[in-house]
């Protein structure tokens, strides 16, 4: 009954092209020997990659982004781990309310969170910079991590924990020797994906970073100048390749040891 559908298949191929052409265009132009991104291509060059290597502000921005990304992903995975445990292990009172509250930062427009944070931060007389950016990224990543970890925990056999308790382990050792190793792939996936989200996040950093640029803010500041632009393409090409690899690793980890259960409903 549902064996073949050529019309739909052709549609899928077209949609696939629609999805990927904008992404692949930038790496192509990153080797193009011209300031302008127009076809036909002028010639092959590595100049933009070399130019990129020599930008000290870019290095600073990259370093800032990595710093924020690591802190944000570790802290939000940690917070999310506890929350996911609470939701999967216990029948929480006001489940809907707490669950919704924790997911909210992921759903409401980021610009509203950015506005709220810039207003409270400046009204307390504090200086904008990487600290409020990191806080906002933790807020933004936590719901994501929680969804990933919940889906991991739901696919896991509670009797293993119970067996450990019955054998006389206390809850700490049960967690450390049974729960944690089983959850580890999920935890690493959560760390990786949260890092990618933070690394790519623009609007919160745009409002809150002040002069401490993160990488997306640096790229934004260069977009306006055609002469400065090509090295952003080179940078973009590298970002695209590295994030794709990270994300594929995370996807693979998420399904590791999950058997046939492949649930994409939660967390992307």
């Amino acid at each position: 009954m549902y064996n073949k559908n050529n019309t739909l298949f052709i549609y899928c191929v077209f949609y696939f092209a629609f999805l990927y052409i904008p992404v692949l265009l930038l790496p192509i132009f990153s080797f193009n020997d011209s300031f302008h991104m127009v076809f036909p291509l002028k010639g092959f060059t590595f100049d933009w990659y070399i130019q990129m290597w020599n930008k000290s502000r870019l290095h600073q921005a990259l370093f800032n982004s990595i710093k924020v990304g690591i802190i944000a992903s570790v802290v939000s995975t940690f917070i999310a781990l506890f929350a996911a445990k609470a939701f999967t292990r216990y029948k929480v009172k006001f489940h809907g309310l707490s669950y919704g509250a924790i997911l909210l930062p992921f759903i409401i427009p980021e610009i509203i969170i950015a506005v709220a944070l810039i207003v409270i931060w400046t009204s307390m007389g504090l200086k904008l910079g990487l600290i409020p950016v990191t806080i906002s990224h933790i807020l933004f990543c936590t719901p994501f991590c929680m969804l990933i970890l919940i889906s991991r925990m739901e696919g896991f056999d509670k009797s293993l924990e119970e067996a450990s308790m019955d054998l006389g382990e206390n809850s700490f050792w049960t967690f450390w020797r049974v729960t944690f190793p089983l959850l580890l792939p999920g935890i690493i996936a959560s760390l990786l994906l949260a890092f990618v989200i933070s690394f790519d996040e623009f609007i919160l950093a745009f409002f809150l970073s002040s002069s401490d640029q993160t990488l997306p803010i640096y790229m934004w500041s260069q977009l306006r100048f055609p002469k400065k632009f090509p090295h952003i393409l080179a940078l973009g090409a590298i970002i695209i390749i590295v994030t794709s690899l990270i994300v594929m690793t995370a996807y693979w980890l998420r399904n590791l040891g999950q058997g046939k259960k492949k649930d994409f409903s939660i967390g992307i």
């Binding site: 549902y2 064996n3 298949f9 549609y11 899928c12 949609y15 999805l19 052409i21 904008p22 992404v23 265009l25 930038l26 991104m37 127009v38 076809f39 036909p40 917070i79 999310a80 506890f82 929350a83 609470a86 292990r89 929480v92 009172k93 707490s98 924790i102 909210l104 930062p105 759903i107 427009p109 980021e110 610009i111 509203i112 969170i113 506005v115 709220a116 944070l117 207003v119 409270i120 931060w121 906002s136 933790i138 807020l139 990618v196 623009f202 997306p216 790229m219 934004w220 977009l223 973009g236 970002i239 695209i240 994030t243 794709s244 994300v247 594929m248 996807y251 649930d263 994409f264 992307i268």
Partner: protein, 294 residues
């Protein structure tokens, strides 16, 4: 060994659950709820100089918002654009999710990974790429001119609302594909067979069985695309031009060059209110529809 008090505490599942939840709840309270309350308070203040804000209560900023037509127009346009983005994304991704759920037998996982992978690559660059595609010297125009189909570049491709809608719909595709696929994949195939056995055609089966059963995915996709895109800043800024400007661009300038924090806060509050109303409306309609169907 341990005191009774501790025992009672550790026995209570609710206490344990909320201890585990506390870091997340504290985060939401201090990094989101409290700032939002301050934002609401600030929206009732007045900016008197570059750095000074007069804290006396006034509804002046809301009056400003509604007395200058540009603000309401931008808010309305943001909602309109998001509406069309949601619609376009759903219409274009539904067949895809349907194909993966029903026709793809092997490597479903691979399909899903490939369909969602672009979502993870730099948002900024993806949006910028659309400027390169749609621009006067862009990919489409140079291709058309190269083949001699047109003599002058088509200027209407970029810097308008359509460009914003296409770009956003591309950027948010993954958020539609996943919930749609999940809800379609869950459908019990024997229900469809039953429908055919009862003499329904393919189209009737789709319309009476498959589509209603996929509604949870559709609703999920609507909410998760519509709500965030109302506040999108990057896309209208890069490909929208004057015609495609949205409220977020105005809000950003109020926190930048225009330097009017209270008016920016008021605009954000009104955006949030609008988003909540729309979300409530969608949920309400869904409940009505699903009640009628069952």
């Amino acid at each position: 060994m341990s005191s009774t008090l501790q025992n009672i505490y550790f026995r209570s599942d609710q206490a344990k659950a909320y201890t585990l939840l506390s870091p997340a709840l504290i985060l939401v309270i201090f990094a989101m709820a409290a700032p939002m309350i301050v934002m609401i308070f600030t929206s009732f203040n007045t900016q008197i100089s570059m750095i000074e804000i007069d804290r006396t209560f006034t509804t002046g900023r809301y009056e400003d918002f509604f007395s200058k037509p540009i603000f309401s127009m931008l808010l309305f346009r943001s909602v309109k654009i998001s509406f069309f983005v949601t619609l376009l994304t759903l219409l274009t991704t539904y067949p895809l999710a349907y194909y993966i759920a029903f026709y793809v037998k092997k490597n479903k996982m691979l399909w899903i990974v490939l369909m969602t992978l672009p979502f993870w690559t730099s948002y900024l660059l993806r949006v910028f790429s659309w400027r390169v595609i749609l621009g006067n010297k862009g990919v489409i125009n140079s291709a058309l001119m190269g083949t001699g189909m047109i003599d002058e570049p088509l200027g209407f491709l970029l810097y308008n609302q359509a460009a914003v809608i296409i770009t956003l719909s591309h950027a948010w595709a993954a958020f539609a594909i996943l919930p749609l696929y999940v809800s379609l994949d869950k459908i019990d195939k024997s229900l469809l067979e039953a429908s055919y056995d009862l003499g329904n055609t393919k189209f009737e089966t789709f319309w009476r069985v498959t589509f209603p059963l996929s509604l949870p995915g559709v609703i999920g996709a609507i909410l998760i695309i519509f709500i965030p895109t109302v506040g999108d800043y990057v896309t209208p800024q890069l490909v929208g031009g004057t015609d495609g400007r949205m409220l977020s661009n105005m809000i950003q300038s109020l926190f930048g060059r225009a330097n009017n924090f209270p008016l920016g806060a008021a605009s954000a509050v009104l955006m949030l209110t609008t988003v909540c109303l729309v979300a409530a409306l969608v949920t309400y309609i869904t409940k009505k529809v699903s009640m009628r169907m069952s």
